[in-house]
């Protein structure tokens, strides 16, 4: 096969899975990250403790180990799932733990005077969070969230190791059938780069747009 045919073949088979895994896992990570990050700031010690365990376990062990554990060990306890579900769950849980730290430190770095202003204007705690703190914290978090999205996208290549047919998996299959090793893995690197690079640029642009004139 020619170089372009190889690329076309990989894209045709694996691109959708790679992108779908990225999007689903990113949404899960963002939701988990916000929920866990806010819970970590709770007044309730027990809630803080529970979240700390989640965060430390998923940050302290390796993503690939988590992926294998969810895919190979959970079925032993009667919990079976498709490779896709396992992939989204593992990546989402893993990045959710990191995101929660981003969320927590983002919220904590909002100027304390903002809290005083909302007390003086008689906001409730929920109103304060929703209207004043989170919108400002989000802008502070954006660069970190952007970096995490790129890292998450790159990490989806691991799902090939639990037989999910993403770009990397397809490359391995092609490699086994055509033996055009050099072209295949070069093409694979280029494909990832061509997706990740605009993502990096896009996040930077979004960042600039959101801070324009305001901060």
């Amino acid at each position: 096969m020619s170089f372009w045919e190889l690329i076309a073949s990989m894209l045709g088979q694996g691109l959708v899975i790679t992108l779908l895994t990225t999007v689903l896992a990113a949404v899960l990570a963002l939701v988990l990250g916000f929920v866990a990050g806010l819970m970590r700031l709770s007044k309730n010690k027990f809630i803080r403790f529970l979240v700390a365990i989640y965060v430390e376990v998923f940050r302290g062990t390796s993503l690939l180990v988590q992926l294998f554990w969810i895919y190979f060990v959970l079925p032993m306890f009667g919990i079976t799932m498709t490779a896709m579900t396992a992939a989204v769950l593992a990546i989402g849980l893993n990045f959710g733990a990191y995101t929660s730290e981003v969320v927590r430190s983002g919220i904590q770095s909002v100027d304390k005077g903002q809290i005083e202003a909302t007390i003086a204007l008689n906001f409730t705690r929920v109103q304060r969070m929703r209207r004043i703190i989170i919108p400002q914290a989000f802008i502070i978090m954006l660069p970190n969230l952007g970096n995490q999205l790129i890292e998450l996208f790159k990490s989806t290549s691991l799902v090939a190791l639990i037989t999910l047919t993403d770009l990397t998996y397809q490359a391995n299959v092609l490699n086994a059938t055509t033996l055009q090793t050099t072209q295949i893995f070069t093409a694979l690197l280029v494909i990832y780069f061509v997706i990740a690079w605009p993502m990096t640029k896009g996040m930077k642009l979004l960042e600039r747009k959101m801070t324009e004139g305001r901060m």
């Binding site: 100027d111 005083e116 202003a117 003086a120 204007l121 109103q127 802008i139 305001r214 901060m215």
Partner: protein, 263 residues
């Protein structure tokens, strides 16, 4: 005289082991303008921050418009710590303007002003915009309505902060050193706005300030704080020109020597 709008009863405040307010009794009448002066660390800022509920009271009670601020009565009529709802209800009488403005940086000037009426009070947005623009006009910043705070000068920021506090129609408005963070040439515009509000007369004011001329002009009464106590309290003419206590005399002398009056 009518019922006081604010009444401090034997209010004490500790930060850990450090006593900053020592059993203070104090009253503010409706519409009264009170200036708080004194050396830094004398307790005047803490005194005001307790009223805004930015610091927790250690002992004693504060009454606002006839209700306890930090307490409420249980079924036996005894005082217990106030619930969040009770605290918010009583707190709605108080507003504050901060030294460092604390505008919401992610909102335009107009959004800053309508945010609390709409979110906290549930005022209809159209009406809030109308009121907000009127208030902006009053502080002379209607043309800045769509700017973000970062695009304003310090004096303009503080005028927006004043407008933001005023649209909530507080019965008592606290000014915590409103011009201390400003460049000298911007102080005048802010003081003028405060004077205008003072002349309207309805709102009681608690002014923490180092501007003695301004205090004399605006305040009905000046309270001098020293070491957690109100040492002297009276009309400006007495406090500034006929001080009784040696501490106040010393304070005024030092003050006059470092800050020659322009008049």
């Amino acid at each position: 005289m009518s019922e006081p709008i604010v009444k401090y009863n034997n209010v004490t405040k500790y930060f850990d082991d450090l006593m900053v307010l020592d059993g203070i009794d104090f009253e503010i009448q409706p519409g009264e303008k009170v200036a708080l002066v004194g050396p830094s660390g004398s307790g005047k800022t803490t005194f005001a921050r307790l009223l805004m509920t930015l610091e927790e009271i250690t002992d004693g009670t504060i009454e606002v418009a006839g209700d306890y601020l930090w307490h409420e009565k249980d079924e036996n009529g005894d005082l217990k710590p106030a619930s969040t709802d009770h605290l918010r209800k009583v707190r709605s009488n108080i507003g504050m303007v901060f030294q460092h403005f604390h505008l919401f940086p992610h909102m335009t000037v107009l959004e800053n002003i309508i945010e609390a009426p709409v979110t906290v009070k549930g005022v209809d947005k159209k009406e809030a915009i109308k009121d907000g623009k009127e208030m902006l006009d009053k502080v002379g910043l209607l043309d800045k309505a769509d700017n973000y705070p970062a695009q304003l000068s310090g004096g303009q920021k503080q005028r927006v902060a004043i407008a933001r506090a005023l649209v909530m129609k507080p019965k008592v408005l606290i000014f915590d050193e409103p011009t201390s963070a400003l460049d000298p040439e911007l102080i005048g515009e802010v003081l003028d706005v405060i004077k205008d509000i003072a002349e309207e007369g309805e709102t009681s004011m608690l002014l923490i300030t180092h501007e003695m001329d301004f205090a004399r002009e605006v305040a009905d009464r000046i309270a001098f704080f020293d070491a957690g106590k109100i040492v002297e309290d009276g009309p400006p003419s007495e406090i500034l020109y006929h001080p009784k206590s040696p501490r106040l005399k010393e304070f005024l002398e030092r003050f006059m020597s470092t800050q020659a009056s322009p008049e």
